[in-house]
Every structure is written in C-alpha cells, then in structure tokens.
Amino acid sequence: MMLPRWRWWFLAALFLAVVIAAIYLPILRRNIKQAAKLQQRSEEQARRELTQPTVINPSDPKVKAKLFWASGANDGTLSSVVVELPLASDPVLRSKQVLNTLLAGPVDTELRTLPPDAALLAFYLLPDGTAIADFSEALGTSIPSGIESEQMAVDSITRTLEANVPQVRRLKILIHGQEVETLAGHLDLSQAFVVNANTPIGPRAATSSPVPTSEAQQLTPAATTVKLAASPDKPATKP
C-alpha cells in the first residue's frame, strides 16, 4: 500500500525538525547556563567590579609601600611587608591603592588578615583627617569570628594606612555603607580608630573648627552624609 505523497512530505519535515532540534538544543542549553551564571552574580560582586578599578597609573613614582599582614607566629601579631607600588600622591587614591593591595593578600594566603572576597567599596577623607572606608559585607561575614582575628583585621588596615598615608588621622569603618556595631560580633566598629595621632590637620581644616575626639568617635551615617555633602568629589586634603 502506497502512502499518499503529502504524508511523505510530512514525515520528511518531521525528520528534519528532529535533526535541527538535536543540533540546536545543546547550544540553547549552553546559552541558558551561561545566562544563569551571569544572573547569579551578586549585587555586591557587580558593585565590586564597578568600584574596583582604582587605576594604578604606571607613570606614578614607584614607592616602597609597607603592608601589614599576619606574622605567621599564630599569636595575633602583624609584620610588615615592603612592596614596590606606583602610588598616587593624592591621599584618597593612595589609600584605595594600598587597601586594595592589602585586600588582595600576601603571597602566602595563610597570612591573610582580611577575607579574600571582601572589597573596598568607597573611601573618603574629611578635612580633619578622618577617613571613612566602606567595605563590602564579606568583611564582616567571611572573617573568622573572634576578638583576635577581628582585631588583626582592623590593625592591618589602620597600620597600613598609618605607614603609607600620613594624612589619615582617624579611620571609621562602614560595612556596605552602613555603620555597624561590631565587625563580626566582637570588635567595636561604632567608634573611629586612631591611625596617625600626630598628623597635623590639613590647611582647609585649620580654617574650620576641628572635630573633637568625642564627635569623631560618634560619627553616624547621617552625620557622615552631611559632612560628605559639604566636601567636593575630589579629596579634601591635598598632600
């Protein structure tokens, strides 16, 4: 019995469709997987990518920067490592450069003081020498819990700034733009940390009344916003 002609054509079309599907479906699946991966990037990762490019200008003079990581003695002490970096003379850019290098970690990852997935989101310097460093949430969530580890993390940041950016007198740490009570349940982040106690206040600050210690210690996000709004985008204190 002979099949009608149109049925042959129908079967042939079906066969062709199956062949095309067999070729196309794996490609489609691969594309979907790639798209899903892209969507999985957290908001913080995306923000990190946006804020990351703290341009290290190769024309900047190479400076021997001192970075503080764990000493390896497992006793909570830090030791300095000298790294040659082309650092900007601008204190805000310079701070970002040294902190990003600190976050990148030492060659020996056991000596890290900050979590590898933590990022510096923003850095500001007020005229009175108070710096505000805004870190990603990973700084608080990925750090090993404990007084020792949290103290080491903050010490490594403050001592690195002290050694490389003399304009920074105090440091206030924010997490994802917010003031938090502790870093990971122990160390107090509600107060500003002393970095360079002896640094003279910049020329602009000399015209205005310096922020008393008590006021600096009680910086709130609201207060910070007001102060930042009053300062231009460019760093307030020039070297």
Partner: protein, 285 residues
C-alpha cells in the same frame, strides 16, 4: 510596808552611805555605753537607702532594659568591697559565635565553661551573676546593664576564638578611652568603661599571668582591643578568649575549663584588695 520606800531608802543610806554613789556611777556608765552605740547603728542601717545597689552610675542608653538587681544581692546590704563577679557567656540564641568544623558552637561551650568558672569563684567567696543562663541572647547593652547595676563588681566575658594556637587563652581589656561626663556628672553609657580602664588592665594582667602559667604559649600580659562588650561596662572588665573551636576533638577544649576557671577565680581574688570600691554610686574609681 512595801510602799514605805522613803523610810527604806533612809534606813539603807544610813547603814551603807557608799551605795548612792555606786548607783550614780552605774547610771553614768550605762548612759555612756548607750551613747556610743547609737552612732554605730546609724552608720550601718541607712546605706541601703543612701546607696541603693540598683542605681547605676551611668546614663543608660535609650531603649536599654532597666537593670534589675539579682536575687542574690537584693537582700544583701552593699559592702564597700569587691564581692560580685558578673559572668558573661558570650553570644547565644541565634548567634552561635565561632563555629568549628566538628559542629562545635562557641555559644554552647562558653555556657559550660561559665558553670565551672562560677563554682571556682564561689569557692573564693564571690557572688556570681550570669548575664544569661540558657540559650538566650541579651544585647550588649543589656549585659552591660547587669554589671552596671551592681556595686563592687567586676565583669568577665568569656569567648572561644576560631583562630590562635589551640590550647592557649588570652585576656583582652579595652583600649584607652577618652574620659567623658555629661552635664549631670554621670558617666556616658557609650564610654562607661573609660574610668575603669586602668583597673581593668590590672585585673587582666592578674588573670593573664595565671593563664600563661597553665597554658603554655599564652601571652604573659593582657592585650588591648576595642571589644564592644567592654565599652559600655562601668566596672573593671575583661574578655577571656580561648583558642579554639578548630580543635578536632572537643575534649581538648573541655580539658581547659578547670584551668580557665581557676585562673579567673584566683585572679579576681588577687585583684580584690587593690580595688577600692567608690563609696557612692556615680563616683569614679
């Protein structure tokens, strides 16, 4: 007659003329003794009213729980000596603290450690107040409020680290803080530790010295750190951190508990004579 007293007295005096002098001397002596006892009673009775043990010397933060006196101290009149230790097992509730690979949680272990520390302190004659008994998680301010409500107390917060050489213990005291007082002369809550920093350091060094003897590799002196819990505590206050939750076998930590308890109790006892408790709440040490 029984009522003829005048004749009886006249007769007695005529027979024994020294008797009135003896009675007069006895009366004078009795009056003198009575006069001496009255001021002593006045100085021992009123302090409960003058120095209520529950009145904190610091300005409480807005929203902080009003401190209530513990049952142990409610009936005890305040003494001008260190006799209370406020023990703080850190974390609790949903806050597990440091977590080890073997399922060890800091919040559970510190509770067990605190039980042993409590026994050791009580054997040294201290009253012990705990900031939490079970799996609760009071706020930092609520824990501080329990210490700030006491008079003549020290504060010890206990932690287990997730770093450090296993088998060592470290004592932390607060960094130097700028002292401050508001218009009323009270200590601001957020800097309550400021007047006590040097005393805390003395206490910390006492305890750390004993810990270093028991646990090799521990530092000889207390270290300074900006510990949130200590900042709002208006009493000599230390944080003891034990390493660590990363031990493979939980018994390694359990073996440390008696040594930790003994060091804290003996350190507190050694610190007791050096701590002159202010006469009135609100006075700086």
């Amino acid at each position: 007659m029984l009522l003829d007293v005048g004749r009886f007295v006249q007769k007695t005096i005529s027979r024994q003329p020294w008797l009135p002098l003896f009675v007069l001397a006895a009366c004078l002596a009795a009056m003198r003794v009575a006069a001496a006892q009255v001021p002593q009673q006045q100085s021992s009775a009123p302090p409960a009213a003058q120095h209520p043990p529950t009145s904190p010397a610091v300005v409480p933060p807005p929203g902080a729980a009003t401190p209530s006196p513990p049952a142990q101290t409610a009936t005890t009149p305040p003494r001008a000596a260190l006799n209370i230790v406020v023990l703080d097992p850190a974390h609790g509730g949903t806050d597990l603290g440091a977590r080890g690979t073997g399922g060890i949680h800091e919040s559970d272990i510190v509770l067990e450690f605190v039980a042993q520390v409590r026994t050791a302190l009580e054997s040294q004659g201290f009253q012990v107040v705990q900031t939490r008994q079970g799996n609760a998680n009071p706020s930092f301010d609520d824990r501080s409020a329990m210490a700030n409500a006491q008079r003549g107390a020290i504060f010890v917060t206990l932690h287990i680290a997730s770093t450090g050489t296993p088998g060592t213990a470290r004592v932390y005291v607060m960094n130097d803080m700028a002292p401050g007082a508001d218009a009323t002369g009270l200590i601001p809550w957020d800097r309550a530790q400021a007047p006590f920093v040097s005393l805390s350091r003395k206490l910390g060094d006492q305890v750390q010295g004993l810990l270093a003897q028991k646990f090799k590799g521990s530092p000889p002196m207390a270290q300074m750190a900006s510990v949130r819990q200590l900042r709002t505590t208006a009493a000599p206050a230390i944080a003891v951190e034990i390493s660590s939750v990363t031990v493979e076998d939980r018994t390694q930590l359990d073996h440390m508990a008696p040594g930790i308890a003994d060091a804290i109790a003996r350190g507190a006892a050694a610190f007791r004579p050096t701590y002159v408790v202010p006469a009135n709440p609100g006075e700086r040490p």
